[in-house]
Amino acid sequence: MRGAKRSAKNTAKNISLLVLCGLMGVLCAVNWLMGLNIAQMPADSALRRLHDRFVGGAVGYEIRSSGVSAADPAQMALTVDGKLYGVQYNLTDIDAGITATRSLWSQALTGEGLRTADESELCTALRSGSCALLRYHGAIPMQSIAGWLGGSWKDNARLQVETLVYAAGVQRLFVRMADGRLYAADAAVSQNALEEAQKNFRGLSCSFAEDAYAVYPETLLFDSEALSLPVLKPAQINLFAAQSGTGLEDLLDAFGYTAYTDFYNEQDGTVRVFLDDTSTLRLNASGLVQYASTDGSATVSAYDESDITDAAALDAQLDCARLILDAAQRAGDTDTHASLYAVERSGEQTTLIFLQMYSGVPVLGDADFATFVFDGSALRTATIRLQKFQPTGGKRTVMPAKQAAAGASGAERGLMAAYRAQDGQYVPSRFYLKNAAE
């Protein structure tokens, strides 16, 4: 009897111990969760998603980890029902076009073996059947474009690409470099991917220039083109104004500083210079941002030095620059966005140059809009020239590409539309791009 009573008491103690241990675990977790700052958790954190679902917040949205491209295409085209349709200089249409053709490009850009090709081969391919075209401003590394579109290019990773053409009739991918050279490789895109892209792609009727004009054969000539763009005037930026954009805190944070970092004023307070032991950030109220760090260390690092591939390093540097630019443009409350224009590499040093865009159209200035120099993972220097624009109310129709192509000489084989300063305003015009190789 006494043994049974002792056994029951022992069981009760064991159960109590288990319950108390469990309760302690739960209480520790609740205490820890209550101390967390949910706002600082990234949107892709499982804890953040759980918090939003059960405590309140946005739910049911997608998180896209890839496809955050640092450059936006200027033009896209696809053959649908035997006729070529294209979109240009409009990010909404370009985004929709990318969504429709992503699967096609991811297949076309998964491969290797680019070899030099000649123009006649491209002209033949353009006439051979359905084609898809993607053109960027400037020179973008092939590996980066492939990564953004869901593909992976194995060799020629450092090639700087301006235009990609996939010709389904000959199953070839043609690649135009920024210096005008043409390369081609075999590329296989499934019929399903092509048909799906053709079903969803929308654009305006156009055609390839082929060999009819002295421009690149893949130049898009839109039927009855009337690209009418607003004339812009520069507006005042004051990075130090309390109501200007998101304030300086985000910008300082992007460069690895805090709101408590030491600074001093120059030029009657229109320039603030922030300093720490290894770097300097010079901010001009009117929008000029200059950063420099010493060789030994840096406050901004794009990636962890250990065990990183060449491709991943460039992606990380692009991401790092893109986030800083994003913070700067938010701080200046500018109505522009940045698009990668060129990547220059020399040994361990990588220079990224960005173009400024207004509603998908480049705004050209006397100097590059933004330049970032990385030494390995460390950001060595950065210069950003923030600008703000206002439409004047007037509009200007850009010369149609057909007309411009007819007037092209052999040395000017590329065409672009862009804003350029003229009498204190920014006026959209058509420009010829000289072939750097000639």
Partner: protein, 275 residues
């Protein structure tokens, strides 16, 4: 016998730790409650100093952190709706600015790149004469055309019906469709701002903390209103940015006696009077 004592000691230790943790939680909860009460009292004072009042039924909302979201324009969905409304053979024209117009003998439908939509449709049944009839007919038409909304909410005033819905589980304050049957010529006009598809953010996307106190104070200081503030709701505002992409920006909606106001959570500026 020795184990028995050890278990007793362990139970005592665990009880003490659990009581401490519970106490800690209770103190935090109480402090949070006290802070909220004090904040609400202070806000009532500050808001009344600006000539406004918080309604007695006003419930002070908690701060919320929301990601900035983006939406892709879906021309395929736009075309599906056009086909359902105007028939398969509606004529389609597209302008340089991305505006797409559909036209047939049943009416017209125009989609703009920023999500604005307007349409005129000739009814095949008799026009409604009361709010309830208008509501019923609007539901039928929207369902037939393919306008679907998460947590759809319908309101009718005379023969004008408004459809709103949430995106990502939260209201989008300026995303609504209004169907107006009042023309009297057997047609209905549809105007509004609408979107399709699932919104998205990126892994490095920005989240914004919507502080109710900040928004309320900014509103009281800058709106020039003098009436009662009835409620405030956190949600999104649909807009296109300078790159013509559709964004969902975290925004407070403040309802007053006289109308609705939107306050940007990030910039803390009043966006505009809606009504």
């Amino acid at each position: 016998m020795q184990w028995d004592k050890v278990k007793n000691i362990l139970i005592a230790i665990l009880l003490t730790i659990n009581l401490f943790l519970l106490g800690n939680l209770a103190v935090r909860g109480w402090q949070s409650h006290r802070r909220t009460s004090e904040l609400e009292a202070n806000l009532r004072t500050l808001v009344s100093a600006r000539g406004m009042q918080l309604d007695t039924a006003f419930s002070f909302p908690e701060d919320i952190t929301l990601p900035e979201l983006s939406l892709d324009r879906s021309r395929a969905d736009e075309e599906k709706i056009a086909a359902a409304m105007l028939g398969e053979h509606a004529e389609r024209t597209e302008q340089e600015d991305g505006t797409v117009r559909f036209e047939s003998d049943r009416g017209t439908l125009e989609w703009q790149a920023d999500g604005n939509v307007q349409a005129d449709y000739t009814l095949t049944e008799s026009a409604p004469t009361s709010a309830s009839e208008a509501l019923e007919q609007a539901r039928r038409l929207c369902s037939r055309w393919g306008f679907q909304a998460e947590q759809a909410s319908w309101t009718a005033e005379d023969t004008v019906v408004t459809l709103t819905g949430s995106v990502a589980g939260l209201p989008v304050h300026n995303r609504r469709l209004t169907l107006d049957f009042s023309a009297g010529d057997g047609s209905v006009s549809l105007v509004g701002l609408w979107s399709f598809g699932t919104p998205y953010t990126t892994a490095n996307g920005i989240s914004i903390t919507c502080s109710a106190a900040d928004a309320l104070l900014q509103f009281a200081a800058e709106s020039g209103e003098t009436g009662k503030i009835e409620s405030m709701t956190a949600g999104y505002r649909m807009q296109t940015d300078s790159s013509r992409r559709i964004r969902l920006t975290p925004t407070w909606k403040i309802d007053t006696e006289t109308g609705e106001y939107l306050v940007d959570c990030d910039k803390k500026t009043i966006i505009g009077e809606e009504n």
